[in-house]
Symmetry: C2
Subunit: 324 residues, 2 copies
Amino acid sequence: MKNCSLKQIAEILQHGKTILLFPHMQIDGDALGSSVALCRVFRKQGKQAYILIEEQIPGNLAFLDEEYCISDQEMFDEIDICLAVDCSDLARVGKRKDTFFNGKSTISIDHHLTNISFADYNYNDGSAAATGEIVFCLFKEMKSEIDTLTAEALYAAIVTDTGNFQYSNTTKETHLITANLYDHGIDHNKVIVSIYQNIRREKVKIISKVLSTMDFFCNGKGNIAYVSQDMLQETGALIHETEGIVEQLRNINGVEISIFLKEEADTIKVGMRAKTIANVAEIAQYFGGGGHKKAAGCTIKGTLENVKTQIIAVAEDHLKTLER
Amino acid sequence: MKNCSLKQIAEILQHGKTILLFPHMQIDGDALGSSVALCRVFRKQGKQAYILIEEQIPGNLAFLDEEYCISDQEMFDEIDICLAVDCSDLARVGKRKDTFFNGKSTISIDHHLTNISFADYNYNDGSAAATGEIVFCLFKEMKSEIDTLTAEALYAAIVTDTGNFQYSNTTKETHLITANLYDHGIDHNKVIVSIYQNIRREKVKIISKVLSTMDFFCNGKGNIAYVSQDMLQETGALIHETEGIVEQLRNINGVEISIFLKEEADTIKVGMRAKTIANVAEIAQYFGGGGHKKAAGCTIKGTLENVKTQIIAVAEDHLKTLER
């Protein structure tokens, strides 16, 4: 378990003949895009390389996978290198943990500030906006040729993990790397259309419905909306398709705290966001939950109605302390 | 009326002592951001510079204006240089036309492919994703110091006109210029919060309502939604706050043509988008309208209901020709 330089990682990779890649669970654009880019480069070098996944790839990212992904954990008897991609800790390797440690060597490449070095060789750069940025630098270190599809996979990694260069993790370096990807012939519009213009109609329907439940409190400094099981059934939407709504609520003028309630069997899952100075982790902690200052959550027993009353009361108290 | 180089524009600007800037009507992030950047730099050079506007600045862009904008057309008796910013033709200078031509010299800086050279000195670069990119290059030509607020105004210009680097107009150059703006100390997150996280709640309400009217046709290859005067009244939203909805409709999986109807006095305004191969300009032309292949519009007499029937029929015919 040691932290090492990209140069050392490049050297170790050079000696591997079979390489298995482990993007994190609940796979996203950065985990998949970075893994696809690595897989393509390894194969071009004559190595046997695959991406081991344990769930289905989200529909809007499926275009990235051109026969790289497998879900059969026992496909290889011997693996030279198992490489975790964008996994902040072992929990994110999930059920593939045993297979991961079956590798003769294990490597982790990640950009999470909270990364726990769990592999034999670890490279973590918390200043990178996406693991895709690190993979780009690794390719430079390896002097690997970056073909168009590889560059597009890295582009997908970067745009998804930076919210199209909007999140605060975005840096000058992010834009310089992206500019460089254009030199490798990327069709950025093709990637954007695939990722963002293939939304399920059920998702649009549930967003419309959820936003119609929006309520304000504390003179518009807080707002709250919910999704019930009935609403999901009526629209045919999946619960994960309500992702992003709590940010939409926060994006409203004057709103400092936004709250989104999801009805589950006999509990309500609460997601919260703060815009500037509020600390929603404090509100979450009050109900036994946790998170960061600007993004936190908790689970509360009860019905939508009474959880809404409870959480508004605590959020109002918090907003009042900010006025002092 | 001649087209000239940025170097020539820089030389002419050097000699002006009073400069009035004319961003286009229905002012947007690029027109305002570029004008603010120019205004700041001119003032630092000791010139008297103002931005002449004829409408209110949209709330989410108001942070850019720090006492640069005026609406009094008669503030100056004599103006050395009148500079049109991001105006593809004179119509976009609007009611300020006479004041514009009152300038001893007139200049136009723009990035629209359709630009008509209407000033004494014109610089137009259709390959620039935003006029903000051209202004950045002009500053390099002028060897002007770019301070943080100037860089943030250019950043605002670029992100708004490229849809956060998503639109097909975005290039390698766009990212290189943006990377450079970081060197001038921009707080990109501050700009993003100001532009995108200050949405009026009425806008969110109208979007939710409009999306609930969504209908599909031609096996989901087309979709259509509408806004009525009643809906606007009920939510308190303004008609321009429905902007972007037609793109949201297009972004749905399988949709090739999206249509958005706006109810006016006794006509219906129709906006359309195509995702890949359809040509919505053809549909618009059928009703006496026009536009581009992927974005077009027309105005049809009638009620929401019968216009919906008419436009679906023509769109269905168009979609069928694509199948052949």
